[in-house]
């Protein structure tokens, strides 16, 4: 564990009934990097995120954030200390306009302390901040997009809204659960600069992805999971050449 390690995951395991979803997965994340987690369907990627962010209690292992053991903390506490996440299955508050969706993270204790957005008691303040954040994340301020109902937004914008919800928390780490899936090539092309920008702001990003090519363009390091086990880790070019990773995606070559 080196000095710039911000999050250290040590031997996380989880079983559902008899199914071993995660087996002794360990990795360290450095401050400010983009770390990719890849693996075929059902390899335990989302479960891993859930275990780290507290939505599932891991069966064994430790999660250490900046030297503090946060294993088994409640999810809102983990979010409060600066680990944010998106959800694979997005469920924005459909009946509210897009910018109103950000009221919830902006109301949170972290937004008040770390973000310094106190809302000031007046109703309008959080709304302004919300529109600012949406603009940052690629909603055109002068268009009507931020004011549209969340349910009417196209998928690309809903994904951005998910990210905006994380950004409103002023997090140190964001776990992105398949933010590229379901997007067209051009939409992804629009998202990539956003990722770069977040990285420049010093946010550590952990991206769980299916779309390998797009991921490899932004990721510094990549880890591959298969059947709940870590099978490879390192630079993306190295990982993709790894025999086990190829097998996991393409199946074993018949000898």
């Amino acid at each position: 564990m080196s000095d710039d390690t911000i999050l250290s995951v040590q031997g996380i395991s989880k079983t559902f009934g008899g199914l071993k979803a995660l087996m002794d997965v360990s990795f360290d994340i450095r401050r400010g990097e983009v770390y990719g987690i890849i693996g075929p369907n059902g390899s335990g990627k989302t479960t891993l995120i859930n275990c780290i962010t507290g939505f599932i209690k891991p069966g064994g292992g430790k999660v250490i954030f900046k030297g503090k053991d946060i294993t088994r903390w409640a999810p809102h506490k983990i979010a409060h200390i600066g680990i944010s996440r998106t959800f694979q299955i997005m469920r924005p508050y459909y009946s509210l306009p897009a910018y109103k969706n950000l009221i919830i993270p902006l109301w949170s204790p972290r937004a008040k302390t770390v973000g310094g957005w106190r809302g000031g008691g007046r109703h309008g303040d959080r709304d302004t901040v919300a529109v600012d954040i949406l603009e940052e994340i690629g909603f055109e301020r002068d268009s009507r997009v931020p004011y549209k109902l969340a349910s009417t937004l196209p998928t690309g914008y809903q994904k951005r809204l998910e990210l905006a919800r994380c950004m409103a928390m002023r997090p140190e780490i964001i776990f992105c659960d398949e933010v590229f899936s379901g997007l067209s090539m051009s939409e992804i092309a629009g998202m990539l600069p956003l990722i770069e920008k977040m990285k420049e702001e010093g946010i550590t990003l952990i991206m769980v992805e299916h779309r390998l090519r797009e991921l490899f363009r932004v990721a510094d390091r990549v880890m591959a999971l298969n059947f709940g086990e870590k099978i490879a880790e390192g630079l993306s070019s190295v990982v993709i050449e790894n025999k086990k990773v190829k097998e996991a995606y393409l199946g074993k070559e018949e000898v």
Binding site: F16, G17, I56, K57
Partner: protein, 289 residues
């Protein structure tokens, strides 16, 4: 000795009350707040058939009453619940309202006081392990155990039973295999109501048929199912033994007034320590926020 014998009897009684509720919850994923009402309905119908204009013989009256209750359960699903499946708030309110309507309707119709009683299977009593027990309680234990066995066999070896279990485990997968989820829900409600009816026929001879019993049965059924893990059958039976003995113990050492308190305390302790209940498997994910 008394505590053990009556503990076992009380536990079987509780599990009989709860089985119908658990069955409906495990298969239709629907909390049937009308459970207690269906229980009382059976008792009242049986009484009606035996005593009023028809004066049918006991076995006919009983079978008819259970059959009608099962039909009521099926009709409730077919005409009300089917339209609001998946809307949790409406489901709860609707079953609760139907249950209340039946119970309070019966109360208004004159179901009060001491006049309404069902005869026991066999009158008289005997001694077991030095404790005097009437035959009816023995019949309860016997039929109770037989019911558990029958349910087990039904769900493990019968086609319909297997379908029910399939729906209980994974509704979507079962539907893809061609199991009609509405049909199984109707069957489960009919079965659950029938079980409530069976319990009523067995247990009501121990007291009067009054509306309050309906509320008690509902509460005990819910308590047992929550503690055993909502929808888990093995849990239900285990939990009824825990509560059953706890109640007999409090009755022996404190007073019978506390039976209800025991049930509620048990629920609260369960919610605090292990909300998914004794046998609630992977519900950690779904239920704890």
């Amino acid at each position: 000795m008394e505590i053990i014998v009556y503990g076992v009897i009380n536990s079987v009684i509780l599990s009989l009350m709860a089985l119908g509720f658990t069955l409906v919850y495990s298969i239709a994923r629907m909390p049937n707040f009308a459970h207690g009402a269906l229980y009382i309905t059976t008792g009242y119908l049986a009484w009606l058939f035996m005593n009023s204009f028809m004066s049918l013989p006991y076995p006919v009256a009983v079978v008819l009453a259970i059959g009608i209750t099962a039909a009521i359960g099926a009709l409730i699903y077919r005409f009300v619940m089917i339209r609001i499946r998946g809307m949790e708030i409406s489901e709860i309110i609707a079953t609760y309202a139907i249950g209340l309507a039946i119970l309070e309707g019966l109360r208004w119709g004159g179901l009060r006081g001491m006049t309404f009683t069902l005869p026991p299977f066999i009158a008289g009593s005997t001694t077991i392990l030095g404790v005097s027990v009437d035959y009816q309680r023995l019949v309860i234990v016997g039929i109770g155990l037989a019911t558990f066995a029958a349910l087990y066999l039904f769900t493990h070896f019968n086609r319909v039973g297997l379908a029910l279990r399939g729906i209980a485990q994974d509704e979507r997968a079962a539907m893809m295999l061609g199991i009609d989820s509405d049909m199984t829900a109707i069957i489960s409600l009919a079965l659950g109501s029938g079980l409530a009816g069976l319990a009523a026929i067995l247990l009501l001879p121990l007291g009067n048929i009054i509306v309050e019993v309906g509320y008690n049965v509902l509460i005990f059924a819910i308590a047992v199912s929550v503690i055993g893990g909502l929808g888990s059958w093995a849990g239900t039976i285990l939990a009824s033994f825990i509560i059953g003995f706890a109640q007999i113990l409090t009755e022996a050492f404190l007073s019978s007034h506390y039976q209800m308190v025991v049930a509620l305390l048990a629920i609260i302790i369960t919610l605090l320590i292990k909300p998914s209940g004794i046998f609630g498997k992977q519900k950690e994910l779904e239920e704890r926020v």
